[in-house]
């Protein structure tokens, strides 16, 4: 979230500040291993998240990235449910970890802990007339017994948050259809095929834009939108926001503080048309 997703980080920090939410970083945090770890080394795939969770020292961990969320939750699940796994992981990390540290995605914190009433109160410029679809991707809600995030087929946490911000959240069937994730770099044909489905369905549902909650989903739908258009011969022109950017706009936070210039498919015309601009 310091590189290609730095606008997600910026907008998260801005929204947290507006809600009085403190988000100190875990000291000395390291990469959770993401997809590459679980594809190559099951032990490291648990040890890397565990190391970060140990450094949290029992405090609740807030996560923005969907892949990190999934890996941290998987580590908790595997370690807490099997004493032998706990022992083996402790041997690799060099410290014992019980798998009990609470892990919450930003959406869980916003929708459940802070609540939509408080969010609505903080709204200064409701996103009236903005029709959007919420795209959750794969890793927040699956596997459901691991993440316990929301319904795996039809999650609604992001819908609730953005409705509280005044947006018109449309129903659509592709909330959790895969975008192709990391294949954006290694096998981009897969990403083009999968994002084509998502973009086309969003348009068919009548959406002005898409709201996302995962850095790689946002990248695939936004940075690669032109590539997908070229491959399929269709025209989408759908801005793809992080949900924190949309929430931030509703809170009256400036475009600069929300990192809007990082968006590749420009949202400027859409925001101007809807009278949402700072």
């Amino acid at each position: 979230m310091e590189g290609t997703a730095h606008d997600y980080q910026k907008s998260t920090v801005a929204v947290a500040k507006a809600l009085g939410l403190q988000l100190p970083e875990i000291p000395g945090w390291t990469c959770c291993g993401s997809t590459s770890a679980h594809q190559t080394d099951p032990l490291l795939a648990l040890a890397l998240p565990a190391k970060n969770l140990i450094a949290a020292e029992g405090k609740t961990v807030a996560v923005g990235c969907a892949a990190c969320y999934n890996r941290l939750k998987t580590a908790n699940h595997e370690i807490a449910s099997d004493p032998q796994t706990r022992k083996t992981v402790a041997g690799v990390v060099g410290k014992d970890y019980d798998g009990q540290t609470k892990i919450l995605h930003l959406l869980e914190i916003l929708a459940r802990d802070i609540g939509t009433a408080k969010i609505a109160q903080a709204v200064k410029k409701p996103l009236k007339g903005l029709k959007l679809v919420t795209y959750y991707g794969c890793l927040l809600s699956r596997p459901p017994e691991v993440t316990k995030f929301d319904d795996p087929e039809n999650p609604t946490l992001m819908d609730q948050v953005l409705e509280a911000a005044g947006a018109t959240v449309l129903e659509w069937p592709h909330k959790t259809e895969c975008c192709g994730a990391g294949y954006s770099i290694t096998d981009v044909g897969i990403v083009k095929r999968l994002t084509r489905e998502i973009l086309a369905m969003a348009k068919a549902a009548g959406a002005d834009c898409i709201a996302t909650a995962c850095p790689l989903c946002q990248l695939n739908l936004d940075l690669r939108q032109k590539d997908t258009e070229k491959a399929s011969g269709e025209h989408f022109d759908l801005p793809v926001f992080y949900f924190t950017q949309l929430l931030g706009l509703a809170f009256g936070i400036s475009r600069k503080d929300l990192g809007l210039r990082s968006l590749v498919v420009s949202p400027n015309r859409l925001l101007a048309d809807r009278g949402i601009s700072v």
Binding site: H6, T30, Q39, L43, T85, T88, T176, G180, I185, S262
Partner: protein
């Protein structure tokens, strides 16, 4: 039923080995096809999810380890979420990926190279340096010009810092990686 006994009876060593590696619960499969129906990459791949399970059950080692599917599966977990028997083809594919790399099975996929670069970066730097990651990947796969047109735009939009700080504690990480490598077998 005891899982390993059934696997050994039907499929010999390979299925038991794969199950021990992946904990996919593969012998419980009913071949209902629900996994394949929900799989985002099934239509374009060589061995579909339910067929992958079947191939492993029947000991088709070379077919599965050399398949495109293990490197096209996105680990979206749709299969594992929907399976009525709690089989996880996603977990199965992870096990097969590791076995494929260990066996040096031929593949056209660039994913193993990417994983190698990524994990080296985690070991050395503890955090990603996306520009460095991409540069290494392009050099090792000779995909020198792919997406280069996007570079100016990404730099202007602040999406690609040319340098990102490492995490402290490299020595600790190196030791951790060494311990993981020497731990016998898989995670359990």
């Amino acid at each position: 039923m005891t899982m390993s006994l059934a696997a050994a009876e039907i499929a010999g060593d390979f299925a038991s080995l794969v199950e021990a590696q992946s904990h996919a619960n593969l012998m419980a499969c009913l071949q209902c096809g629900k996994c394949t129906s929900g799989c985002p990459v099934a239509a374009g791949t060589d061995i579909k999810p339910h067929a992958m399970v079947r191939s492993v059950q029947f000991g088709q080692r070379d077919d599965v380890l050399r398949s495109r599917m293990i490197w096209e599966c996105t680990s979206c977990q749709t299969c594992a979420t929907r399976c009525p028997q709690k089989v996880s083809v996603a977990a199965l594919n992870d096990g097969l990926r590791r076995m494929s790399v260990r066996a040096k099975s031929p593949t056209k996929s660039a994913v193993p190279v990417f994983n190698n670069i990524f994990m080296n970066a985690v070991r050395k730097r503890g955090r990603m340096n996306e520009a460095g990651l991409m540069a290494s990947f392009k050099l090792r796969t000779m995909r020198l010009f792919a997406d280069m047109g996007k570079l100016p735009m990404m730099l202007l939009k602040g999406k690609l810092p040319l340098w990102q700080a490492s995490a402290p504690g490299r020595g600790e990480r190196e030791a951790m990686f060494k311990r993981a490598a020497s731990a016998k077998g898989d995670k359990s």
